[in-house]
Structure formats: C-alpha cells, structure tokens
C-alpha cells in the first residue's frame, strides 16, 4: 500500500482543490511572492550584518547622545540606550553575532555530526553501537543545560557560543547521517566497492557521502532558526558575547531592566531575532517540502 502523505495532497479530504475562492493566476502570483519573501528577509539580514560598519551611523559601543532618547529622535531613528549609545547602530552590529553563530554552529554541527554519523553507519557493528550509545547518553541531557555548562566552562565569547550551540545540534546530524549512511551501506554499489577493496574512508567519502549530502543540507537549513534562538537565549542569560559588544540577545536582557520605562529597548532587538528566525524557518520548510515532493530535490 502506498501511503499518501499530506505533503503531496494539496486538496481537502473530499478531493476538492485548495483555496477554491481565488482564481489560479492570482493565487500563483501571491504564492510566488510569499515564497520569495523569507529568502529576501534572510538575504537582507545578512547584507545588513555584513555592511554594518558602513551603514551604522554611530559607533555601537560609544555613547553618542543623551541616554534613553525615544524612537524617531533626531539623528537616532531607533533612539538611544541607557548609556546613550545609538540603538540603530547597535541593532545593525547586533545582527552580526547572531548570524555568525547560527550559521557557524550549524556548519560545525553538520561537519562533525555528519562525519560521526557516516563512520557509524558505514562501519556498523560494535563501532556503530558504541558511537550511537554515546549520542544517546548525550541526548539524555537537556540540550540547553549542556550548552549552558559548556559556556560556563569556556567563558563567554562568540566562538565559544558557536561551539556550545554546535554541540547542542550535534546529535541531530549524527543520528540523521548515521541512518542515511546505514541505508546506503546496505546497497549494492557499496558492496561492490567493498568487494573491489576500497578503503573504508574512500567508501565513506567518495561513495556514501555524495548520496546523503542533500538530505543533510536540508536538515541543516531547517535547524538554523533553532541555532539562532538557542544562541540568543544563551546571550540573554549573559553567557554569550561579552559586553559592551552589541548582541541582540543581550540587548533584550539590558532592555528588560528598563521595561516599565522604555519597553522598546527590549522589544526591538527581540523582534529582529524573531524576524530572522521566522524567515529562516520558512526557508527551511520550503526546502523540506521540495524534498518530499515528487520531482523535487533528491
């Protein structure tokens, strides 16, 4: 029996097509714009972060004017913080650690977890058992707690934050890569490669890896948002980037102290995190959809 999943069923239970109330062309155009939107937002965030030094009107760590100017003040469209630093500049610069850490951590987790999983899946047997039990033990620990402890040990810095977040995502990639690699390892071409006498490393890198890299990449896209949120939470707890360097998570923390006086101090940086995470989530969702749809990726 072929199981119909919800992904390839754009119709309701009675078989009627979706959104009957819109003419096809209009719907297509609207959907097209909606699908492009998250990609545009992510690109914009990255561009703003990269160009922050050129775009920021003030030094983000130096006091520029009177403290706590409201929004839309002259010269300070986003106001100033409690130390008189320009909020717009701090927001722009604050994007940098978030994007660096989320992309870096996912890349690191993909690399290390992927390699770990491929070794486990291709080698099989006792090695597989031992490697996967180690992941089980790791998974039996609340992830944020592990990240907090790692950061407590390494001390707060952007690199350490990246390592801690990568560690929290390592099991996701290790398990996925292991499952995919074990599936491939059972197939004829791997058997053939073994019969010819290829070294295990060559089988892993040249034979198995190319066949599992796409689902791994899709998974990577779908956890960038989680990485950004984890990093932001750790920064909020004061374990991320060292002040006074601007960081969105820590800006929320600082702003919270003034919550009854100037709520925008905490709300704006958080909104920026949310927008970025949301856009990345939608991008990941689109890729995952394409993967499961016939004729899509993989």
């Amino acid at each position: 029996m072929t199981q119909r999943t919800h992904e390839d069923a754009p119709q309701d239970a009675a078989g009627r097509p979706v959104a009957r109330w819109l003419p096809g062309a209009v719907l297509g155009a609207v959907l097209g714009v909606l699908r492009a939107l998250p990609w545009a937002v992510v690109t914009l965030c990255i561009v703003l972060a990269v160009l922050a030094p050129a775009l920021a009107p003030f030094n983000p760590v130096a006091s520029a004017n009177a403290p706590l100017l409201p929004l839309w003040s002259e010269g300070h469209p986003m106001g100033t913080d409690s130390l008189g630093r320009d909020q717009l500049s701090r927001l722009l610069y604050g994007l940098r650690p978030m994007i660096f850490v989320s992309l870096g951590a996912v890349g690191l987790a993909l690399l290390v977890g992927g390699a770990y999983g491929v070794v486990s899946g291709v080698q099989g047997g006792r090695i597989d058992w031992a490697l996967m039990r180690a992941v089980d033990v790791f998974m039996s620990f609340p992830i944020i707690l592990a990240a907090i402890l790692v950061l407590a040990a390494l001390g707060p810095s952007m690199l350490n934050l990246t390592i801690a977040v990568a560690l929290s995502q390592f099991p996701i990639f290790a398990r996925l890569a292991r499952a995919l690699a074990a599936g491939e390892a059972a197939r004829d071409y791997v058997l053939a490669a073994r019969a010819v006498g290829y070294a295990p490393l060559r089988i892993m890198v040249a034979e198995v890896l190319p066949n599992i890299v796409r689902p791994l990449m899709v998974q990577a896209t779908s956890v960038v948002a989680l990485a950004a949120l984890t990093a932001a939470a750790l920064s909020y707890l004061g374990l991320g980037v060292r002040p006074p360097a601007p960081d969105l998570g820590f800006m929320v923390r600082e702003g919270q102290e003034l919550i009854f006086l100037a709520p925008e101090q905490a709300l704006l940086p958080g909104l920026l995190i949310a927008v970025f995470a949301l856009a990345v989530s939608f991008c990941g969702d689109q890729l995952a959809d394409e993967r499961t749809r016939p004729g899509g990726l993989t």
């Binding site: 609340p142 707690l145 929320v252 949310a274």
Partner: protein
C-alpha cells in the same frame, strides 16, 4: 516490556555518571573562583588561603573529583560557598517550583498545540489550515525570552492584569511545606494561596507553553492527516460512520502515539525552557538558581541544580518511553525491543 524497563534503568547510572562528570568539569574550568566573589580585593592573603582550604579548593583536581563523586553517592550535594546552606535543601526548595511551571506549561502546550493541530487537520488546505501552520511556525520561531517580555509588556504594563515578576506577592505570608502550592494549600488549609499563585504562574506558563506549541501543532496535524489517508478510514466512511466520529475515534486514536512521544520530549525541553522563563520572570525555580550560581561561581549550588535538572529530565524521558510502549499494543506484545 519488563526487560526493556530493566535495560533502561541499568542505563540510568551511566547517564548520571556522565552528567555528574560533565558538570564537575564545566564548573571547575570556570575562570575565577568563588573566593574572588566571597572576598573583596582588599582581603589579606591569609584569609584567602584559609577560605580556599575551607572550600576544599586547594586539593588537586582529581581529589576534588573523587570527593565530589563520593559525596554524590551519599546523596550529599554539599553546601553553598556563599551562604553555607545545604544544597540539597536548596534543590528541594526550588525543584517543586520548576516542576509546577513545567507542568503548567505542558498543559498550555497541550491545549494550544492539539487545538491548533486538530483544527488544521479537520480542514486541510483551507485558510484555517494555512493560518494555523503560519501561527505554529511563528510561535516556534519567536525567542522564548522575548515572547515572555512581550507578555509582560502587554499583560502587566499595558493591561495591568497579571503580575510580571516572582511567584507570590511579598505581602502574602507563605511558608512552604512541600513548596508545591496546590498541595500546601490543601495541607495548610489555605485556599487563598491559590489565586495569587495562579496569577503569577500564568505568564511564565503561557510563555513556555505557547512557544513549544508550534511543534506539537505540526506533528498533530501531520499525524492526523497520515492517519486519515489509511484504509481503515475509507472503510469506516463506507460503513457510514459520521465524519466527527471517524475524526475523533479512528484517526485521533492512531495519531495519538506520535503525539505522545513529542509531548514527552517537549516536557524535557520545557525544563530547559523554564530555565530561561524563570530568569525572565524572576521566578524562584531551580533554573534561575543555577544561572545565578554560575554567575557567582558557587560551584556546589550550580552542580546540584544541574544534576537535579538532568536527573528529572532522564526520569521524564524514561516514563515517556514506557508510556509509549504501554499505549501501543503492537510494541507491548513483542518481547525485548
């Protein structure tokens, strides 16, 4: 089934040993020591040395580790470097607070996540479905701590409906017996405790529960749709079973398993999420105690808190697994795994 329980229980000490070691390493590697926090820069060298010896920090690391493990085996979590209070009693005092918050959050997540997921699955492909999915994605992508602050701004600052910080109003004379307020209210015959307690619990629980509801919504929706595509639904429809009955009796029962797993996993995640929520709302739970202890380098307290959280997490996962087996007769019948 019982073999599986035994296997899982046998795994428990291994996990706990690993957790305890990780906690030890992490906190010993902290830059600076509790002595710096305890003494001002004007403290004499003699006083500092005396303090270091008193706290056992002059021992080599391996001895500190052995002493620590030995104490753990005797369930002795040591004393706070800063206040001298027994860490075990601090854990017993704060853990119920966190459990209350996690359970309340779980309820919020269940109601919101299942409600949204079932609503979307009942009308797939409609505006309602798309709206629910976008809402789920939004809830999932909002930073928890920021969502909490938004709640404070809306419900405390603007509307003034709910308190923003703490667990009980300071004016209220609450002496903990179990520190589970509901239980204490019964034991101490003080029903007036419940109102203020609920008022303080609402915002943190909504924060953690709603931000976790997105995952549950998506899973409930897709499990229901998968169940709806199976042959038994077609059979039931041909027999003339009403749609509502098919939805709740046939589809929901089959989708329940996957949903149950996620609930268990999410409960664990909630313990983590409550760490953040406790900091946001100044809620006196174990997570906040841990973060404070890390910042003041109060090793013993941070260790105790991290261990307690990890043990709770491991136990919750174990219970979830076993419930899962119990709920799925197919898994129950097969011996071993």
């Amino acid at each position: 089934m019982s073999a599986e329980i035994l296997r899982r229980l046998a795994f428990l000490p291994v996990t706990l040993f690993f957790v305890a070691t990780l906690v030890f390493i992490a906190l010993r590697a902290l830059p600076g020591s509790a002595v710096d926090v305890l003494t001002s820069q004007f403290a004499t060298a003699g006083l500092r040395e005396q303090l270091i010896a008193q706290l056992g920090l002059d021992q080599p690391l391996w001895r500190q580790y052995l002493i620590y493990m030995g104490d753990l085996l005797r369930l002795d979590l040591g004393r706070s470097f800063l206040t001298g209070r027994s860490v075990s009693s601090m854990v017993w005092q704060t853990l119920p607070v966190t459990i209350e918050l996690a359970v309340a959050s779980l309820l919020v997540m269940l109601i919101a996540g299942l409600g949204m997921g079932l609503a979307a699955a009942a009308r797939p492909g409609t505006v309602l479905d798309v709206g629910m999915r976008v809402l789920a994605m939004t809830l999932f992508s909002v930073p928890w701590f920021w969502f909490g602050i938004v709640m404070i701004v809306v419900f405390s600052l603007w509307l003034g409906w709910l308190p923003a910080f703490g667990r009980m109003p300071s004016a209220l004379d609450y002496r903990a017996t179990t520190n589970f307020v509901l239980i204490d209210a019964v034991i101490q015959r003080r029903p007036e405790l419940i109102g203020p307690w609920l008022a303080h619990l609402t915002l943190p629980a909504l924060t953690v529960g709603l931000t976790s509801a997105g995952i549950l919504m998506r899973l409930a929706r897709s499990s229901m749709l998968d169940a709806g595509a199976r042959d038994f639904v077609l059979t039931a429809r041909m027999k003339g079973v009403p749609r509502r009955r098919i939805f709740f009796r046939h589809m929901l029962r089959n989708a329940a398993l996957g949903i149950l797993t996620v609930i268990g996993l999410q409960f664990g995640a909630m313990l983590g999420g409550s760490v953040v929520a406790e900091v946001v709302f100044g809620y006196p739970g174990i997570g906040r105690m841990m973060i404070d202890a890390i910042q003041t380098r109060d090793y013993a307290v941070a260790q105790g808190a991290a261990l307690a959280l990890a043990v709770l997490y491991v136990l919750v996962n174990l219970v979830t697994d076993l419930t899962y087996r119990w709920a799925d007769p197919r898994l129950r019948r097969e011996p071993g795994r």
